[in-house]
């Protein structure tokens, strides 16, 4: 096995999946000639030609909308949205069509669309290059959502998304695109959707995270003077409820970490599941460490916005000290 960065693992997955299945095609802004602004699609144009790695016009609703039609013609489109916040123009297509079309056909037709994009903050970028938009996707029926934290999962989850018969959104944590390095299996490699990963075992407290926040949780666990479990969700929808509840039952203390604004963020969903199904297991409140309910700030102050190791440690200590 080779060591790859997270974005290299994405690139690897795309090469493998386009090779494996002639009906997979990649489309998006600058995915061809430039190989993507993060080079996630580098090499695809040369290897698979302009019909299967398509530089589209600059129109995100057009990208996702034509992908619906491409499915009807038998293709399995993989759409790149260049950045998190630039995916918003495609929300209308997502909510009104991508998530509903299968139901509308009585299950007669599948829409195996993959939507992938770099997401998240902390990268010292201009405005609107930093959003964590998972709530908009997770709340939408008929759509699955995966978020890898490691290179191997970036490859395996993306492969699962491409092969899945349903629309899957894959959010790739751009903060660790090049700093997350790890062994990545060569060739075909799939990580099933809906299965969380126990990043670290512990018995006193559980930190639940996904994407770039898994690293933050792990570093917080290093600092804390307790036995801390770190659960990397990997898939937000469908949620691996069993893994979440098992960990909550074991430790009785849960801190949820999310970059996105707090209100109706994904941590709210996790807290709701715990408040319904783990209430007898909990030894204290369920705490959320999240982005604030304000616009993602300019980058000179973004470190104060992002959930930091210090904030996670603080929440964990408060919970550990809870009477």
């Amino acid at each position: 096995m080779r060591e790859l960065t997270l974005v290299e693992a994405v690139n690897d997955a795309l090469h493998v999946e386009l090779e494996r299945d002639g009906s997979v095609l990649v489309l998006g802004e600058d995915v061809g000639r430039a190989g993507g602004v993060f080079r996630a699609t580098a090499g695809l144009l040369d290897r698979f030609g302009p019909d299967r790695c398509v530089d589209t016009p600059l129109a995100e609703a057009g990208i996702l909308g034509t992908a619906v039609g491409l499915c009807m013609a038998g293709w399995r489109p993989v759409c790149e949205m260049q950045y998190d916040a630039f995916s918003y123009p495609c929300l209308d297509q997502l909510i009104t069509h991508v998530g509903r079309y299968r139901w509308r056909t009585g299950g007669g037709m599948d829409f195996p669309i993959t939507i992938r994009m770099p997401y998240g903050g902390g990268v010292r970028a201009p405005e609107l290059h930093d959003d964590s938009p998972e709530t908009y996707y997770v709340h939408t029926p008929g759509v699955k959502v995966a978020i890898p934290a490691t290179p191997a999962d970036a490859k395996g989850l993306l492969a699962a998304a491409v092969r899945d018969p349903d629309p899957v959104v894959v959010l790739e944590p751009k903060l660790v695109y090049r700093t997350a390095r790890g062994e990545v299996p060569e060739g075909e490699y799939v990580v099933q959707l809906g299965q969380a990963r126990l990043a670290r075992e512990g018995s006193d407290l559980t930190l639940v995270a996904y994407g770039a926040m898994v690293g933050v949780a792990e570093r917080a666990a290093d600092v804390l003077e307790a036995s801390v479990e770190v659960l990397d969700l990997r898939t937000l929808k469908p949620l691996d409820e069993e893994a979440l509840l098992a960990s909550a039952a074991k430790t009785g203390r849960v801190v949820l970490v999310q970059e996105a604004p707090r209100t109706c963020g994904y941590a709210a969903e996790l807290a709701a599941v715990l408040a319904e199904k783990a209430i007898l297991d909990l030894r204290g409140p369920v705490l959320r460490v999240t982005g604030y309910d304000v616009p993602y700030p300019y980058w000179a102050i973004e470190d104060a916005y992002m959930p930091s190791v210090a904030r996670v440690v603080d929440a964990a200590r408060r919970l550990l000290a809870f009477a």
Partner: protein, 376 residues
């Protein structure tokens, strides 16, 4: 061949007086009668549907009276392999591809029996949000071309739809990808209560084609033959790899927008009366009669055939059992999560304790209904 009227409007059918009738190459007498059969089928469907709505047998319904020539003329220019992307205004166009009337009536009854698999008829699902299906059609057409298949696609939308970003992005994708697509604009002059003049300052909607680098043609939307001919040319271009065409069919909405709408507040009633007098099915009937191709008996036979089909359709639709609650979960995802089964089990437990099934009254306004319940 069509004549080109002022405003670039193509027309074939004369007025029985000063304006002479034309002929369309390649259409023999049987073809001409086929067009008539389709017109009557759609007209009958539409008129019956309005009655069914009044009787509370279907819900809100988007009337397409006087739009039949646009739908029939264009659909007849397609091959079976070609795909149709209808809006709510073309809800019954699938009849021309063999979708049962009961299916379409079920759709307007809010019943899952209104489902069909687009691949079975090459007819996409009815699109309710304005213009959002235009990129779908562009994608299908592009995708077919990429596969080396010869199918083309047509997408229908209204004059109001041209204001939406989705129309723009779909049209541009089609042009850039040289997708074999016909962008068929039903310009009936109104978007609910909004007249064309409040929708655009373009001289004609066909002018929009210039900005996409595709041909734009204008045709009399009440003239089924002119529509057929213009669409056929666009289909030929598309099939030859020359890309999309924008067809503007000019008509006038002589009926309410939908059953929930009362246009008297905004529409020009004199213009509506005029339009009713020159409505498209009657115009074509006159043409056929002048050619001696339609006898009273044939006319009656065709009409009563269509009426029978509708009677059977509504009977079947009404005979559908109330949908089972499982239908909520069954087709949302090809690989559903375990929570679906849990939710369904809980729902069944609760419904079992109260009343059976979830069948709603077919009357669009339930006890708490909001009235004009769908602009569609």
């Amino acid at each position: 061949m069509a004549q080109v009227l002022s405003g670039g409007l193509r027309r074939v059918i004369g007025d029985g007086e000063g304006v002479p009738d034309g002929r369309v190459d390649g259409l023999d007498d049987a073809d001409l009668l086929d067009l008539y059969r389709s017109l009557v089928l759609l007209r009958t469907y539409d008129e019956r549907s309005v009655v069914y709505h009044r009787q509370g047998r279907i819900g809100t319904y988007a009337i397409f009276w006087n739009h039949e020539a646009m739908q029939v003329g264009s659909a007849h220019a397609l091959a079976d392999e070609d795909w149709i992307f209808p809006s709510y205004r073309e809800s019954a166009i699938g009849l021309l591809r063999g979708i049962p009337a009961s299916t379409l009536l079920s759709w307007w009854r809010g019943h899952p029996a209104g489902w069909w698999n687009p691949a079975d008829y090459n007819v996409a699902s009815i699109c309710v949000p304005i213009a959002t299906h235009v990129p779908h059609a562009a994608g299908l057409a592009w995708g077919k071309r990429l596969r080396g298949e010869s199918a083309v696609a047509i997408t229908y939308f209204g004059d109001g739809a041209t204001s939406e970003g989705a129309f723009h992005e779909g049209a541009n994708f089609a042009a850039v990808m040289r997708a074999p697509l016909i962008l068929f604009c039903n310009n009936n002059g109104w978007a609910i209560s909004t007249p064309l003049a409040a929708q655009t300052r373009a001289e004609t909607l066909a002018d929009k084609a210039v900005g996409y680098g595709m041909p734009g043609v204008r045709v009399d939307g009440g003239d089924v033959l002119a529509v057929f001919e213009a669409t056929r040319e666009a289909v030929e271009r598309a099939r030859a790899g020359e890309g999309p065409t924008f067809v503007e069919a000019v008509s006038y909405r002589a009926a309410p927008h939908a059953t929930a709408d009362d246009p008297r507040a905004y529409i020009d009633l004199a213009r509506v009366e005029e339009e009713k007098r020159r409505e498209c099915v009657g115009r074509y009937e006159g043409y056929l009669r002048r050619l001696g191709l339609l006898s009273d008996e044939e006319r009656e036979e065709i009409r009563s055939g269509a009426a029978a089909l509708m009677r059977e359709g509504i009977a079947r639709a009404e005979a559908e059992p109330a949908p089972d609650p499982s239908i909520l979960f069954e087709h949302a995802l090809a690989s559903p999560p375990p929570s679906f089964a849990q939710d369904l089990a809980e729902l069944r437990r609760i419904l079992g304790r109260t009343e059976a099934g979830g069948a709603a009254s077919p009357r669009p306004s339930g006890p708490e209904g909001a009235g004009p319940e769908g602009s569609v």
